[in-house]
Symmetry: C2
Subunit: 491 residues, 2 copies
């Protein structure tokens, strides 16, 4: 297996694109901007889904399903919402094909025109809030805590596998509450769910923060987010949780009667993560040999490669490893025994490196004699010979170590690439010479934010929730600022 | 909780529609023909998904994801396929909205017209086979065993919740094989997976069979199906598995090199079940009081209703049932303790009957004195007083009994409503007086099949796989026939 991946240091972008395809994660489809998520990539996504879904259910949410299509008029009911999404919508106008009169194939039947055009959902606030109007009458009906796993479509001009595609998969939670406090608490709770998932499952340290008004979700009062740092020093927004205030309740007239008999609009939240997380996972940990996957999300956690000549040696090795296979499986560890003939051990080693399998066990004739096995870990590339006795437990411990080590490595990288700056000169210099997170003072105005974006391509990723109060001066205008905000160039 | 459901005997169709909505399974959405699957209904669907997905994986399949959109030209590459689907496609023609010049809202931007219109997938054979062309070169790449969970859209003029909706959820398996035999074996294997799921999980006996040429999937060589009988005597097709021959391989030029170095087209299958299964589940078992759910698919398997006056009695009951709750949960049984004040026990009883909770446990002050509980089963409406000692095990056994009993009941119903007829007169009489499955001889021609359909609205549901060889005469033409086929009016 020849990998031929570009090097990260030479062309990070080409490295990413090639890796996604060579590691069988995803590929471009014949449909512009839409991807095919291949079985190996989809298995990782399924593991993410399962972990997140369990966390949603533990926090009291249930899943439901709402229509793919949204009547055009719904979109315009919330003023800033339509502004945010109108320019990137796929529009269904007809519902039938017919044979072309000239025999050239099928054409759209002009007579089968829809009386109201339908939008393919770019997000589902509008159709869901129009439904909630019927579900909510009294305080007894609240809170409504619903999540949906679905595909959404945003017409993107420049697409990249997982990071920005016209169609993507995601989950979107939509909740309704009796009070603003409750809705804010829900917004923050789901941000914390996302942060925990990113850190504990993806081994990805994230900054929890709030977006500035400029970067807020179209229709939200406040957008909370988690931001992660990729190996090229660019930031990636990995999840958002929105406090919607009463905006959608007012747009769709969703009112409830309180215990005291008072009529009021309900308070809303929405929150989502998408297949974009796959991009973050790949870019945060992988190296020039291929994927590096945290064990908790790896489709194959352990691969066993026999080193043999002829059927007899293979049979001996196969027999010898049965107890190990059994014990690993009983521990819930997913293991693959690659007994294919025709590909050399070296070819297989390279393949599993490319695919990011966390632990590789190689067993050859000498190991059989000595009762040993060679164990290699993907993250550090360390190799060590272990006794076959008790090997399953050793491997179990190793998987835990690898999960932690990958996280630590990403965290060290982030620490090393987070810089506090005091002047705009310094700010620009850092972005060019050692890109990463930059913590700087900002005067709080959209004008300054936009000027910085225009001049440096860096945006305010968020106002970190743990950013301490600190008197300072805006790096651009010199106006007073009371805390630093987090800047970066971003995906 | 007042149910006010129509009676099945008076208006089966109204009973179904009301039940779906009152039991919180689904409702019509503001988008024509599209439904909202509500949390309670979606939880049942999730349980179905999980069971099916496990069975797909056990038989070697993995999941992947392909685009929602299909270029219009793809659809016409397989001649009979386009004929089958062209008339029911949603067509995306534009990708942007803009503000109307007269200020009336948003309109479709005529300048943002797609160069090639896109179809919202009605099924994914075309886009998947166009992808397989790149995945398959040699016999080493085969078989490809892939499944997709997705939403699909078929523009339906008359829709009914779950049974026929414009958008529905389903899974579609798409496999590619080196030989026809292997592909046929896969087709039959997946039919058997569906039949096993229907019988063991849904408690729904099904007839396994093959469709006639008239009823075949557009693009298939053979369509296998499972057919179930509903309580109103109508049949419901609950799943299909298609042997595609080399049709899609030829349409998309998918060839492979065999071990012997010969180039040949690959052989395909596709198979699917959808949210239609929800309709079958509801219609097969439920009664005039509401849903009857097989325990294996019930979101809540056991509900405990305390009968109390005042907080003190409730506290005593709550304390008393803790060991029961714990034991049930440790057995993996989903249990709800409904301690709401404000609704009477009778109201709660009616609600859980409507929702089809298999087992209800009621505990009142007298039970506390006696160390007992009243246990009611939903399927037979039997009530019995049990000792609290060992109650969890009793309930566990009861759930198994209920699962079996619901299946037995459906099977007895089917047996009682399956009739062999020898003449067309008898055939028509049965359909009018005691509708159900009808086994009759048929001459094997499409003409006769269509005449029967036109005159009686009954169709050939399938040629049952277990239909024994039997000399006979077609009920319409008197021509010779070698086995009976299965007729019914159908959903």
């Amino acid at each position: 297996m020849s990998k031929g991946l570009p090097k990260r240091s030479e062309d990070y972008s080409a490295w990413y694109n090639e890796l996604v395809q060579k590691a069988d994660l995803a590929e471009n489809s014949p449909v512009r901007g839409c991807m095919v998520i291949k079985p190996y990539g989809y298995t990782i996504w399924e593991k993410m889904q399962r972990a997140l879904d369990d966390m949603f259910k533990e926090t009291g949410h249930t899943n439901a399903y709402f229509p793919l299509f949204i009547p055009k008029s719904f979109l315009s009911k919330e003023a800033s919402h339509v502004e945010g999404f109108a320019k990137e919508c796929a529009v269904v106008t007809h519902y039938r094909l017919k044979n072309a009169p000239d025999g050239s194939g099928v054409i759209v039947d002009p007579e089968a025109k829809l009386t109201e055009e339908l939008i393919v959902r770019p997000t589902s606030e509008t159709v869901i809030w129009s439904t909630y109007k019927n579900w909510i009458q009294s305080y007894r009906d609240l809170p409504v805590l619903v999540n949906q796993w679905a595909n959404v479509v945003r017409w993107e001009m420049r697409t990249r596998l997982f990071l920005r595609t016209t169609e993507f998969l995601w989950q979107e939670g939509h909740t309704a509450h009796a009070t603003a406090d409750e809705a804010v608490a829900e917004t923050k709770q789901m941000l914390e769910v996302y942060a925990t998932f990113a850190e504990e499952w993806m081994a990805l340290p994230v900054v929890r923060g709030v977006k500035t008004a400029n970067e807020r979700f179209a229709g939200a009062e406040d957008t909370y987010c988690i931001e992660a740092l990729m190996q090229d020093g660019k930031a990636l927004q990995a999840g958002t949780s929105h406090f919607l205030g009463q905006n959608f309740a007012k747009a769709f007239d969703v009112q409830y009667t309180s215990k005291e008999g008072k009529l009021d609009y309900v308070w809303g939240t929405s929150w989502g993560v998408s297949t974009r997380l796959m991009g973050a996972l790949i870019m945060a940990h992988s190296d020039d040999e291929g994927l590096v996957l945290p064990p908790k999300l790896a489709p194959i956690q352990v691969v066993i490669v026999p080193i043999f000549k002829g059927a007899e040696q293979l049979a001996t090795i196969t027999e010898k490893i049965q107890p190990l296979l059994k014990e690993l499986k009983s521990k819930g560890i997913s293991v693959k025994f690659d007994n294919r003939d025709g590909n050399s051990p070296g070819w297989k080693f390279a393949e599993y490196e490319l695919k990011g399998v966390p632990v590789r066990v190689a067993i050859g004739p000498r190991d059989l004699e000595n009762g040993t096995a060679e164990v290699a870990r993907r993250d550090t590339k360390e190799k060590k010979v272990y006794s076959m006795e008790n090997l399953a437990s050793q491997i179990e411990g190793l998987l835990t170590d690898i999960q932690q080590n990958i996280y630590q490595k990403a965290q060290s990288f982030r620490t090393a690439n987070t810089t506090k700056v005091e002047t705009y000169e310094e700010f620009k210099q850092i972005l060019d010479e050692k890109p990463g997170f930059v913590l700087a003072h900002w005067d709080g105005t959209s004008e300054t934010e936009e000027r910085i974006k225009e001049e440096t391509k860096a945006t305010i990723r968020c106002i970190p929730l743990d950013s301490p109060a600190e008197e300072g001066k805006c790096i651009v205008t010199g106006k007073p600022s009371s805390r630093r905000v987090l800047f970066a160039r971003a995906y």
